[in-house]
C-alpha cells in the first residue's frame, strides 16, 4: 500500500525491474491448485524470509495467519475505541438534553439526571459505532476501496475468486528478482508462474 496507488498525481517510485517490452514490473504471481499446496507454499515463503508477499485465495484458509507469519490485526482496538465513542456520545446527548437543556421540566416525576433510562440508548449507540468501525476499519486497514490493482489486470488471476490460489511477491520486496523469485516459486510447487506488469 503506497500513496501513489491511490493518488495518480503522486509520482511512482522508479521501477527496479522492467519487462522485455519495457513495462515496469510490479511483481510475480504463482498459481497453486489446491488448498494444501497453497498452505505449504505459504509456510515456505515465510521461511524464505520474503517481506512484501501475499497469498490470494477464494476463501479464508484456516490457520493461514500462522503459515504466513502474519501479525494479529489491531482492528479489535479500533472497534473498542469506537464503542467508547458511541457510549460517550449517548451519555453526553441524553444527559445534556434531559438534565441540562430541559432542566426545569419535570418529566414523569423523575429526577432530571436519572441515568437508568439512558442505558438502552447507551448500549445501542455503542453497538452502532462499533459496527461501523468494524466494517470500515477493516476496509481501511486493507487499503480498500481500491478499484484498480495490477493483479486484477491479469486474466489468470481472476480464478483467485473461484478455485485457484496465488502466491504473489511484489517487486519492492528486498530479495525480489524476477528470475530467481520465479524459479523459487516453481520449486515450491507452483503450477504456473507469471510476471505482473505495473499497469
Amino acid at each position: 500500500m503506497a500513496a501513489s496507488d491511490y493518488l495518480p498525481f503522486i509520482r511512482r517510485p522508479k521501477p527496479g525491474f522492467v519487462t522485455e517490452t519495457g513495462e515496469p514490473v510490479w511483481g510475480v504471481m504463482a498459481q497453486f491448485d489446491t488448498t494444501v499446496d497453497a498452505y505449504h507454499a505459504a509456510e515456505k515463503m515465510r521461511d524464505a524470509g520474503f517481506k512484501h508477499w501475499d497469498l490470494h485465495a477464494p476463501f479464508p484458509i484456516h490457520g493461514i495467519e500462522e503459515a504466513m507469519g502474519q501479525k494479529r490485526t489491531i482492528l479489535p482496538f479500533i472497534v473498542l475505541g469506537a464503542a467508547f465513542t458511541g457510549i460517550a456520545t449517548a451519555i453526553g446527548m441524553q444527559w445534556w438534553i434531559t438534565a441540562v437543556d430541559y432542566a426545569g421540566f419535570t418529566v414523569q416525576g423523575k429526577p432530571y439526571d436519572a441515568w437508568e433510562p439512558f442505558t438502552m440508548i447507551i448500549f445501542e449507540l455503542g453497538v452502532l459505532f462499533s459496527a461501523f468501525a468494524s466494517l470500515f476499519g477493516m476496509l481501511a486497514l486493507n487499503g480498500l476501496p481500491r478499484w484498480h490493482h495490477p493483479l486484477l489486470c491479469k486474466e489468470r488471476f481472476l480464478a483467485s475468486s473461484d478455485d485457484k490460489f496465488f502466491v504473489v511477491v511484489e517487486a519492492r520486496d528486498p530479495s525480489f528478482n524476477p528470475e530467481q523469485t520465479s524459479r523459487f516459486l516453481r520449486e515450491i510447487g507452483a503450477s504456473a508462474v507469471e510476471l505482473v506488469e505495473d499497469a
Binding site: I121, V127, A131, L144, D162
Partner: protein
Amino acid sequence: MTSFHPDQVTAERLAGGPHQAPADLGADGSLNEDPATRSALVLNNRSLHEITEIVCGYAENAPGKWWLPTFALTATVAGVGTLMILYLIITGVGVWGLNNQVGWAWDITNFVFWIGIGHAGTLISAILCLFKQKWRTAVNRAAEAMTIFAVMCAGIFPAIHVGRIWFIWFVFPIPNYNYIWPNFRSPLLWDVFAVSTYATVSLLFWYMGMIPDFATLRDRADKRLRAGSGTCKLSVHCPITGIKLLGFPCSADRIRAFLYGLFAVGWSGSSRHWHRYETAYLILAGISTPLVLSVHSIVSFDFATSVIPGWHTTIFPPYFVAGAIFGGFAMVLFLLIPARELFPNFKDLLTLRHLENMAKILLTTGMMVGFAYSMEFFIAWYGGNRYEVETFINRAFGPYAWAYWTMISCNVISPQVFWSRRMRTDPRVIWIVALLVTIGMWFERFVIIVSSLHRAFLPGEWGMYFPTPVDILTFAGSCGVFLTMFLLFLRFLPVFPMAEIKAIMPQGDPHGHAGGHGDHDDHHEGGH
C-alpha cells in the same frame, strides 16, 4: 450380554466390519445418524468451482418462467399497499379501524410481526457463528437478506401510525426552533434507536458478507468480457410475442462488471485481508448477538412498561425474543423450501439435514413460547390482581377467543409434529408448519395488543376492534414489498455465501483431511 465401546464400533467400521453406517441415509444422504461420521455439508462431492458455478449461475442467468409472473404479482400487491399508505396520509388514521379504546391495532401488530421475522437472520449469522455451527452457511445469506427486508417492512408501520407523518422527525434528537427534544425516558424512543441500529448493523453485516462474493461475480463478468463472449447487448423482449421492447447500449456483463465491481470495493482475496475480514466478521457477530436480544426486548418494553393488564409483565423480553426467533426461522423455511425446489442445484447446498436442524429449532422455540403463554396465565392467577385475571380469561374465552386459539394451535400444537423424524425431514410438512407458525406469530401480536386493549378497567370503556379494508391491504402490501425484495435478491445477488461454503468443504481444508468429513474442527492445534 455383550457390550460395545464406541471406539470399537468406529474401528470395526473402518475395517469393513459389521457396524457399517446404514445404507439408507434419507432421501439425499445427509440424514446420517451415525455419531462416528458427520454428514457432508455439501452433497455430491461438489468441487470449489462447482460451488461458484451453482451460486453465480443463478445470479447471472435468467430464472425460470415462474419468476416474472411471480414478481409482477408481488410488485402489484406492494403497489396497492403503497397506495393505501398514500390514502392514509392524505385522509388520516380514521381510514383504519382504530378507535378510542383500541388505539394500537394492526399497525403495531404488523410492526412487531415484521421486526420479529428479522431476528432469525441475525441469529443465524451471529449466534450460530459464535457457536461454530457450520451448517449455518447453507442459510445465512438468505436469512440476512430476509432480515433487511423484514426490517424495511417493520419500519413503515411506526412511521405511518403517528397520524401526521410530516412530524415523524420529532423522534430524532434534532435541535430546532420549537425547542422540542424527544423524551429519553420513553421506551418508544428507545425503540427508535434500537430498530434503526438494528437495521443499520444488519445491513453492514449483510454487505460485508457479500464483498468476496461480489468480487467473484465481478471477476466472472470480467473474464467473459475479455474472452469477448459477454458483449451481446442487453434487451427486453415481450414475454408473449417475443418482440424486442427495449435495448440497452451496453452488454449485461459490462453492467455486472461495473456494479458488482463497485460493491466489491477492489477485493482481491488477499490472505492478509482475509485475516482482518474474519476478525471484523467475528466482532460483528459478537456485537450483533446482544443487539438482537436487546432489540426485541426493547420492543417488548413498549408494552411491558405500561400499566395495561396483559402488557405489564416481566416475562415479556425473553418471551418476545423467543417468539421472534421462532417466527423468523419459520419465515426462513417458508421462503427457502420453495427456492430449493425452484433452483434444483440448491439442494446440494441446503440439505435435508439443514432443514431438519431448523425444524428442531422450530420445535424448541415453539415450546418456549408455549411455556411463556402458560406462564402468563399462571402469573395472572398467582399475582392475585383481578384485572389481570379478567384480561386473561377474556383473552381465552372472550370475543377474541378465536384469535387466541388460532395462535395456540399454530404456535404450540402444530410444531409438535416435529417429534416425528419422518415429519421433520419432509420439506412439504416443514413448509406447511412454517406457514402455520408465521400465521400464528402474527396472531400472537394481535392477541397481545388488541385483546389487552379492548377491555380496560371500566366496563364503560369496553369496545371492539375490526380491521377495515385499508388495514388489510396495507398489511398485504407490506408482504408484497417483502416478497418483491426477496425475489430480486434471488435473481441478482449471491444467495449462498460462496467463500464461507468453500472454507468448510473438504477441499478447503489446508491439511487435506478430505473425504466427506465436513464438520470437524479439532485437526488444527496451532494457537490463535
